[in-house]
């Protein structure tokens, strides 16, 4: 079969991208979802705090998902649940499988990658010790508790202070479990400040910063973990070990964009984000393939995912219509367009960053900035106070300067620029840099 736009994943990113692309005039849209309902990870996020920016009210995850899905009412977007995409080729041929449709092959005019992310596991951080049951990622625990209705343990230790972990510390407490501690390797939390307050402090759950887990005991079910303090280079300090008796260890030690399909499509990945390298319009290195949401970089707020996905929906529409215009003399069929814009022909303005910055998205700007403004999203590597964020060109000219009183790695930062500022540049690269006034580990 053929389709103008195929969107892979019907979480918040895929849903918003589909709605936006339809608004922009694309009619033949296929939204593929591997689960049996739309919403992605939002369905298991039954807590509130979603939608303050987009819907101007505080929603739960499932409510947010429902709103986003309802935006597809009265549209011609075709939603296909229970459909797993097996591969995407650089020329946008997709193979997928579902119970009802069997093996499906689709030639897509454009593709939006919106597969989300996955959690890092015990193996990723090589915690030594036994391998009992009772060790699971916070997201898996969240699914068991919130969707399956099964409690995963009674005495819980949380390693890592990512947002899902913090939310699960509260959730487990409300379900009657005792959360003994949240153990965090870094001298600061990786989660949102509001979650530290509302999920740990409100329930008297100690946050052990600069600590990690160095041992696992239990041959059948988890019996205890060893907690150790770490030094400045994050190495466990011998002699600081204490054992905590627990039956459950929840891991909230990072999220990784799920890019197996992107890799197969030949999309260039940024080792810093783990997601595709994109220009400001969310276009990847493969023309006609766009990416948004957590598959691009891990977001802190779903509202930001929605905003980014709308951008992707707009850009995909633009791509389809420009391809149509170019090819109109030969064929009226968008999908058979072989004349994808050549990426090397698109002059791009590279965006680099200094050592305080973990990553930026986008990593470059295309020459055809079609929106009035462009947003640079970035995360800092450590807590920074009283600093200026500067966007400079190679000769040292400061294009934009903003002040921030406080920045933390757990929260995504945004810098908005007017497009005219960028289109006027002759330079081939810009640098985002931070001049800290003062830095501290944590208070």
């Amino acid at each position: 079969m053929k389709s103008d736009l195929v969107i892979i994943g019907a979480g918040p990113a895929g849903l918003a991208a589909a709605a936006q692309a339809y608004k922009e005039g694309v009619r033949d849209i296929l939204l593929l979802e591997r689960d049996n309902e739309p919403g992605g990870i939002l369905n298991q996020c039954i807590h509130n705090g979603f939608g303050l920016h987009i819907y101007k009210e505080e929603l739960t995850g499932p409510e947010y998902a429902e709103r986003a899905f309802r935006e597809l009412d009265e549209t011609s977007v075709r939603f296909m649940p229970d459909t797993m995409v097996l591969s995407v080729s650089p020329d946008r041929r997709i193979s997928a499988v579902s119970r009802t449709e069997g093996l499906i092959r689709i030639e897509a005019g454009s593709v939006i990658l919106a597969m989300g992310c996955r959690e890092r596991t015990r193996g990723a951080i090589s915690i030594p010790g036994d391998r009992p049951s009772g060790i699971l990622t916070a997201g898996a625990a969240q699914r068991y508790v919130n969707i399956e209705g099964c409690m995963v343990g009674r005495r819980v230790v949380l390693l890592g202070s990512g947002d899902i972990g913090l939310i699960m510390a509260r959730r487990m407490t409300l379900e009657g479990a005792r959360v003994l501690a949240c153990v965090e390797l870094m001298p600061f939390s990786g989660g949102l400040t509001r979650n530290i307050v509302q999920c740990l402090q409100d329930y008297d759950i100690p946050l052990l910063l600069s600590h990690t887990i160095t041992g696992i005991r239990g041959r059948k079910r988890l019996e205890a973990v060893t907690v150790s303090k770490v030094d400045e280079s994050l190495r466990p300090i011998p002699g600081t070990e204490t054992e905590l008796d627990c039956d459950t260890l929840l891991l909230s030690v990072g999220l990784i964009p799920e890019n197996e399909l992107s890799r197969g499509a030949g999309v260039e990945l940024d080792p810093r984000t783990g997601g595709p390298t994109v220009t400001d319009d969310t276009q990847t290195s493969v023309p006609g393939i766009f990416a948004c949401g957590n598959v691009l970089h891990v977001h802190d707020l779903v509202d930001n995912v929605t905003l980014e996905a709308r951008k992707a929906g707009r850009a995909a529409a633009r791509f389809l219509f420009s391809a149509t215009r170019e090819d109109i003399a030969e064929t009226k069929d968008v999908r058979s367009s072989k004349k994808s814009p050549d990426p090397s022909a698109r002059p791009v303005l590279r965006l680099t960053s200094d050592e305080n910055i973990l990553y930026t998205v986008p990593q470059a700007f295309s020459s055809e900035l079609s929106d009035q403004t462009v947003d640079i999203y970035f995360r800092v590597k450590k807590i920074l106070r009283d600093c200026d964020i500067l966007l400079v060109d190679p000769d040292g000219t400061v294009l934009r300067r903003v002040y921030r009183e406080y920045m933390t790695p757990g929260e995504m930062e945004k810098l908005t620029l007017s497009s005219s500022m960028l289109t006027a540049r002759s330079a081939r690269s810009l640098t985002l840099t931070i001049r800290p006034g003062e830095e501290t580990s944590h208070d």
Partner: protein, 486 residues
């Protein structure tokens, strides 16, 4: 009364069961754990060694080379993942070059086919990611990699299909002699058998002691491993061994049969046969040694660490014999490395020993009539072409629902595992049979889905679900206001 009782369902017990199932005999395999392949078979390097390591003239040398030769056809018959990728022992410096020449000569004596010593440019062209400081290598094209659990499970399944019985959770606590053979005492009853085969792996010394004073001792040796993402699987193309030397034990780097990269093992003697913990020191040691060979391995792409315990002994060779002074009793004990490579030969070798002490073996008519009786086929969606997949989903829509996204395992395959002749009853049993949960997310995504499938198929509440051994429960109960309360 059965003709033969086999004690121990590792790859060796399974190979004996498989070798016996073509004959007109009643055979039972007794396994103390709740599934087969849970001892040394569960956690090892998965290497089909070529056979240059064992001393010439030893039983190990003979069975290794013989087993290696039989492995490709066996894995074809049983539809077990196997790859004849060959192996390289790599040398750094003149001292190790000399070791390699010794291994070469030993291999030639043992009858290993195709061995050659490769020079530095040769080995670097074969493995471009090797450290440029490499000075040469021993190339053994007959070596390979296999999925050890699947080999064990497949042999057991064929054994069952041909009339054999596998009884799990049946530890032999006492072996009593009787007029016509043996009485094996189990936690829930007894089994009478004319002949007994001890393939109890790590516990073969203790099982032996039930019938005869011990004349060997198992010395458990732990090996720790890294298992890396499939993305790293292409880092090397053959099994790479570092050169063994007096002061350092070697490590290996290879792709697994599933396509991951495996790095390990340590070799530590541990007092406890069940101590499969990993340690920070052990893992650091492997990492260091591996990076000396291939410095580009991305350990950040590690997905799991694990340990296996090898059944080393105080003997230099495998102990496979009719136990002296004991009637109707054969043992295959202390099957250390290269036990996996030797397994296809050990089964038949044990049957020969049984014949020597009087077991008569007549091929079953059903096997004579149906040569396919000794083969097995399984569905592996992720190894199929799109055309095959399309046809498969038409035949059964359950193959159209992917439950494990990392390894692309379908609901149909999970159901196959639960309904197989040797049914999967735990999450790990499903992992061993289908690879679901083996991948980079380590069951984070598929765990809940597979737990639900298992609960539905077995008609048990989710709270009775276990990961692995009894006691490895996953849930402590329903949530407040769960389905039970409403």
């Amino acid at each position: 009364m059965v003709d033969v009782a086999i004690i121990g369902g590792g790859v060796i017990g399974a190979s004996v069961a498989y070798a016996l199932c073509r004959y007109d005999l009643s055979v039972i395999l007794l396994e103390k754990e709740n599934d087969v392949a849970l001892g040394a078979t569960r956690a090892n390097s998965g290497i089909v060694h070529a056979g240059y390591d064992p001393p010439p003239g030893s039983l190990m040398a003979r069975l290794n080379v013989d087993g290696n030769a039989k492995m490709p056809a066996l894995c074809r018959d049983l539809d077990v993942l196997f790859e004849p990728c060959g192996s390289l022992v790599v040398a750094f410096g003149p001292k190790e070059d000399a070791v390699i020449r010794t291994l070469y000569e030993r291999g030639v004596k043992n009858g290993v086919p195709g061995l050659s010593v490769v020079d530095r440019p040769g080995v670097l062209s074969m493995e471009p990611n090797l450290s440029p400081e490499v000075t040469g290598a021993l190339w053994a094209p007959s070596a390979g990699i296999v999925n050890p659990w699947d080999l064990c499970i497949a042999m057991c399944e064929v054994f069952i299909r041909n009339g054999g019985e596998v009884r799990i959770s049946s530890e032999v606590t006492q072996t009593e002699s009787s007029d016509d053979g043996w009485i094996l005492h189990l936690p829930n009853g007894r089994v009478r058998a004319r002949y007994v085969v001890n393939t109890a792996g790590l516990y073969s010394d203790e099982v032996h002691a039930q019938v005869s004073p011990p004349d060997f001792r198992i010395l458990p040796a732990r090996g720790q491993y890294f298992l890396l993402d499939k993305r790293e699987g292409e880092r090397v193309h053959r099994v790479l061994f570092s050169c063994p030397s007096e002061d350092t034990k070697g490590v290996l780097i290879t792709r697994t049969a599933h396509g991951n990269l495996i790095v390990g093992p340590t070799k530590e003697s541990v007092p406890d046969k069940e101590d499969t913990a990993t340690t920070a020191e052990g893992l650091a040691e492997i990492r260091k040694k591996a990076l000396r060979m291939v410095d580009s391995i991305r350990f950040r792409d590690n997905i799991a660490n694990f340990s296996g315990i090898r059944a080393n002994t105080d003997r230099d060779d495998f102990i496979i014999r009719a136990v002296p002074g004991v009637n109707h009793y054969v043992e295959a004990a202390g099957i250390k490395s290269p036990g996996l490579a030797s397994a296809p030969a050990i089964g038949e070798y044990v049957v020969d020993r049984l014949r020597e002490i009087g077991l008569s073996t007549v091929q079953k008519q059903s096997v004579t009539d149906h040569p396919d009786a000794l083969t097995r086929r399984v569905v592996r969606f992720n190894r199929m072409t799109d055309e095959q997949r399309a046809a498969l989903v038409v035949s059964d829509p359950a193959y159209g629902r992917v439950v494990c996204r990392c390894e692309t395992v379908t609901e149909g395959e999970v159901l196959d595992a639960i309904r197989s002749p040797l049914p999967a009853r735990t999450l790990d049993a499903i992992k061993r049979r289908t690879a679901a949960g083996l991948g980079r997310c380590q069951g984070g995504f598929c765990g809940p889905r597979i737990a639900a499938l298992l609960a539905e198929e077995l008609r048990i509440p989710p709270t009775e679900m276990i990961k692995d051994r009894p006691g490895s429960y996953i849930f402590t109960g329903p949530t407040k206001g769960g389905p039970d309360e409403i």
